[in-house]
Assembly symmetry: D2
C-alpha cells in the first residue's frame, strides 16, 4: 500500500461519473481526472478534488480507470507521465473499461513490472442501473489485489464476482454481452410472432414477464419495447464491437458459436439497413420489418 492516501478515478464520462459518484457518496476520498476537463465539472461542483494531470493521480494508492477502449487505456497507463510511467505509481490499478484480453494482458505485464497490482474489473449494467446501485463487477487478477480492491468495488456495485487470476473477467464480460444480444434477438423473434398472430406486445410481455424465462433486464426494458421508446443505451455498432471481440475469443479457443454468429450477422445487416447508431433494442424493429410490419 502506498503512503499516499486517497483513491484516484481516471475517466469521468457518463458511466465513470456515476461510478465515482457512488464512492464519493460512500465517503471515500476520491480525486478525479479526465482528458476533457469539462467532464469533471459536475463532480468538482460537488467538492471533489480534480487532479491537474495523470501524474498527480498516480500517487493515489488505488486508481480506477474507466476509458473508452484499449488505445485510451494504453495511453493513460503506458504513455508519457502515465499511471505506470510516472515517478510514483499506484499500489493497485483497477480497470473497468471494456478491452480485449490481449490489451488487458499487456497492461498487466507493464503493471507487474512497475510494482502495481492490476485488477481487470469490467462492469455489467448501464449508468442508470449503477446509479440505482444495481450494477455488477466481474473481476480477475491476483487474489490479494482483488481483496484489496473489493471493499471499494462493493461500494460501487451490488454484485462483485471474482472469476480468475488473469484476464478471465474480460472474456466473462464479453460472454455476458453476447448473451445479451442473443436474448434481445430471441425475444424480438417471439414477440413479433405473437404480435402477428394476434397477441399484442403488451399482453405477450405481461405473460412472459410472469414466466420463469424473463430476466430482470427484460422486465426492466419491457415498457420501452411496448412503447417503442428507443432512447440510446448501447448502439448496434457498440454491440457489434463486443460480438467482434467475443467471437474472436471463441475462435481463439475453437468454440463454435452458431446462435451467436447468427445474431452477429443480423446486427451487421441491421447496421447496413441504417440502424448503426440506434439503440440495440431497434433489433426489434429490424425483425418486425423482416416480418413485413412497418416501424413503430
Amino acid at each position: 500500500m502506498s503512503t499516499e492516501p486517497g483513491i484516484g478515478w481516471l475517466g469521468t464520462g457518463r458511466m465513470g461519473s456515476v461510478m465515482a459518484g457512488r464512492l464519493i457518496d460512500a465517503g471515500c476520498p476520491v480525486t478525479v481526472w479526465n482528458r476533457t476537463a469539462a467532464k469533471t465539472a459536475a463532480l468538482a461542483a460537488r467538492g471533489v478534488r480534480v487532479a491537474p494531470d495523470i501524474a498527480a493521480l498516480a500517487g493515489c494508492w488505488l486508481v480506477f480507470t474507466m476509458v473508452t477502449g484499449p488505445a485510451d487505456l494504453e495511453e493513460v497507463t503506458l504513455g508519457e507521465d502515465g499511471l505506470l510511467t510516472s515517478e510514483r505509481r499506484p499500489g493497485v490499478l483497477v480497470d473497468c473499461s471494456t478491452v480485449s484480453e490481449e490489451a488487458s494482458a499487456r497492461i498487466r505485464a507493464a503493471a507487474a513490472a512497475a510494482g502495481t497490482g492490476f485488477l481487470a474489473a469490467p462492469v455489467c449494467g448501464n449508468p442508470e442501473v449503477f446509479a440505482e446501485g444495481q450494477g455488477s463487477f466481474i473481476a480477475s487478477g491476483p487474489a490479494d489485489t482483488f481483496e484489496a480492491a473489493r471493499p471499494y468495488l462493493e461500494r460501487i456495485a451490488t454484485k462483485v464476482t471474482y472469476v480468475g487470476g488473469q484476464e478471465q473477467a474480460r472474456l466473462v464480460k464479453l460472454a455476458h454481452n453476447l448473451y445479451l444480444g442473443m436474448m434481445v434477438q430471441s425475444l424480438a423473434e417471439v414477440v413479433t410472432l405473437a404480435e402477428k398472430a394476434g397477441t399484442p406486445r403488451e399482453a405477450f410481455l405481461e405473460f412472459f414477464n410472469g414466466s420463469g424465462l424473463a430476466s430482470p433486464w427484460i422486465r426492466r426494458r419491457s415498457p420501452e419495447l411496448v412503447t417503442g421508446d428507443r432512447h440510446l443505451t448501447f448502439t448496434n455498432e457498440q454491440l457489434r464491437k463486443d460480438f467482434d471481440l467475443g467471437l474472436g475469443a471463441a475462435r481463439a479457443r475453437e468454440v463454435p458459436m452458431p446462435a451467436t454468429s447468427t445474431v452477429y450477422q443480423i446486427i451487421q445487416s441491421a447496421i447496413g439497413h441504417g440502424l448503426r447508431e440506434e439503440d440495440f433494442l431497434s433489433l426489434y424493429e429490424f425483425q418486425a420489418r423482416g416480418a413485413g410490419l412497418g416501424l413503430d
Copy 2:
C-alpha cells in the same frame, strides 16, 4: 353454468395429477378420469372420486383436459361418448394440453356447436414447478368463459394471463418454448466459451445469476448445468416438436425466425448425434462436443 355441481379432470398423467392435486388441495370437488385407470390410483387413494367413463365426467359444469396431443384431445372430446358428444356436456371446457392452433380451433368449433364454452389454457412449467405453485397459465377464448374458469386456474398456478379471444394462447405457449430453446442454446454457447477460456462453469454461473440477464429458470437449473445432472424433464425430441409447431406458425404468418431456425437445426443435429431421448439440457453437452470438450 350447469346445474351439475363439481369439476372434472380428464388426464392424470404426471403433470395432470399435480395440477388436479392443487385444486383438490384447495378444497374443490374434483372428479377425475384417465384412459389408463392405474394413473388415477394415487388420487383415488387420497379420496378423490374417479369417474367410470368420460360421459360421467361430462356432467361436471367445468372440465379440464390435460392429454398428450391433438389426437388424444379430439378423441376424448369428439369421439364416441366424448365430452362434447355425450348426452350431457360441460358448461366450460378448459384444455391445458399443448396442441396446434388448428386442432384447438376444431375443438372450439365443436364446443360452440355443443353449447360449451372453450378455453385454451396451455401451461408453462414442469410438474415440480407446479407442485410448488410456481406454474403459469396462458389462456385464450371468450372473455366470459375465461372469467368463469379464472378462479380455478388461479388455484392451480400463480400466474394467469389472458391473451385473446381465439387460439392465441397456443401460439404464445409455443413462443415461450421457442424462447426456452434459444435461451438454453445461448447459455450453452457462452458457458462453453467461458469454460474453455479458464472460468469454470460454476464461477461463470455465479456471476451470471447475479446479473440482470439470468431468468429464474436458469437460476433454478444452474446446479444441474454444473453437475451434469440431466434427469429427464423435456427431451430434445419434445423440444423439436414445439419448434416444428412454432416455426410452422411463424411460416403461416410470414415471420422470419433466424435465431430460432439456427437453434432448431442444432436440435435436429443433436438428435442425429444420438441425443434424441436426452433431456434438452444435453444441448450443453452437444455444444461442448463441438468445442472439442469431452462429455461430462
Copy 3:
C-alpha cells in the same frame, strides 16, 4: 394401350407450351388441352389438335401433365371426367409438375387402381432453357413405365435421369431447387464482398466463371447479375414454396439442413422487405442492402 393413338398434353402454360412444342417439332402426334383455352391458341395456330375436354385427352396412350400444383393435378386426374376417372384412361401418365411426394403418391395409387402407369417427371430449367433443348428431367416410377416414356422425354430434354421406383423424383427436384437457392445466396455474398472491396461485379464474375466453381447456370445468368436485369423467371415466393417443401421433406427424414435453413430465413426476410414478387436474383440486391449498398 388405348386404341386411340397419339400423345396428350394437358397444361399449356408458358413451360408446358415449350415442352409440348418440342414433341411437336420432333413429329409426334400431340393433342393438347388447357383449362384456359386461350393458352392453346398459339399451338393450335401451328396446326396442333386441341381436345374439347379432358376426357378426349384421356384416350391418348401417353398423357403428359404440366400444371401449377397438387390441387390442379388432383382435379385434372381425379376430378369428374378426369384423366383417371374418364371411361378411357391413358396407358401411361407422366406428370411434370412440381408437387409434393405426398400428392404424387396419392395420384400414383389412383393411377395404379385405374390401370395406368404413373411416372413422376419434374423438370429442371426454365422455358428458355427448354426451348434451347438444354432442359433436364428427373424421373421416378415403375421401370417399365419409365422405359415406355423415355423416348418422348428425350425428345423434350437433353438429360433424363431415372432416380427410383416411387416418388423420389419429387424430392430430387426439391433438392435441386434448394441447392439453386443456396448457390444464388452464396454467390450474392461473395460478389458483394468483392465489390465492396474494390473488384467490380463484372471482373469478379469473369474470374469466377473461368474457375472450377461456376455452374452453367451462373455463367448463363451472370450478365443479368452485372446489369441488374431482374426479369421474372422465378419469384422469391415461388422459391420459398420449394424451400417449404424441401425443408418439410428434410424434417420428415430427420436431416439437419443448417445452410438451407439460413437461406430460407433470408428468403423470408426478403419477402418481408418487399421483394415477394421479384425474381429471386433480387436476393443479390437484398444482400447488397444489408451491406449498406444502395439498389442498382
Copy 4:
C-alpha cells in the same frame, strides 16, 4: 529489367513444383530455391538450376514466390538477404501464396521502395488441376507489372484474370474459397437429403452433374463423394483459415455474410468433432452424422 536473364522460383513444395514445372515444360529458363533443399531434388533431377541462396535468385528479372503464409513471405522478401533486401532485386515479383490483404500491402510497399513491381497472383486449383493445365490465376497490382508477368502466368494456368491495381486479388481468392466451402456444404445437405429419401448418392450426382447447377469442381470430385475416398487435398483446418481471413475482410467492409457464417460454424464444429486434419470433403460425413447416418 535486370541484366540477369531468367526467371526465379522460390518455393518448391507440392504446388510450387507443379507450377514451376509448367514454366520449365514451356522452355523458360527457371532457377529454383527452397528453404528445405530436398524439395528441389526432383526439379534438379530434370536439369533445373538450383540457386544456393535467395540472393542468387534475386538477380532474376522475374521471381515467383509460392510459400505457406505471410510470415514466410515476409522472411524471404524482407529478411536478411531477402528478395527485396539483397543487393540486386528482381524487376518483377509475383507472389502466388495465400496471404491477407494486409500482408500483401506491406510487401507491396517494400517492393515499391526497392524499385520492384509487385503482383499479387494467388491461384485457384490444386496441384492435380494445375498439372493438367486447368488452374487459374487472379492477379492484382500495377497494370504494367501485370502485362510483364502475364505471358508467364498464361504458361502456368489456362485462365488469368486481372482484378485491380492493389491487393484485390487476395480478397477475390478468399471469396473463391468461401464459395467453395459453401458449395460443398450445400451439396452435402442436398445429397444427404436425397440419400435418406431413397435416392443413392450416385444416382443423385448423375442427375445433378447433368443439370445446370453442377460446377466442374463438383463433377470432378463426384466419384470421391460417392466412394468415400477422402484423400487429402485441403483440410478443414485450412478451410477454416480461409474463412477466418474472408470473414475478417467482410467485417472490415461491413458486409453481412449469413450463409458463409453458418458454414464457418459448421467447419468449426466439425473440427471439434475430430475432423481437423481430414480433407474438407469430410463435411459430407459430418452432415451425414447429423442426419443419423453412420460414416461411410
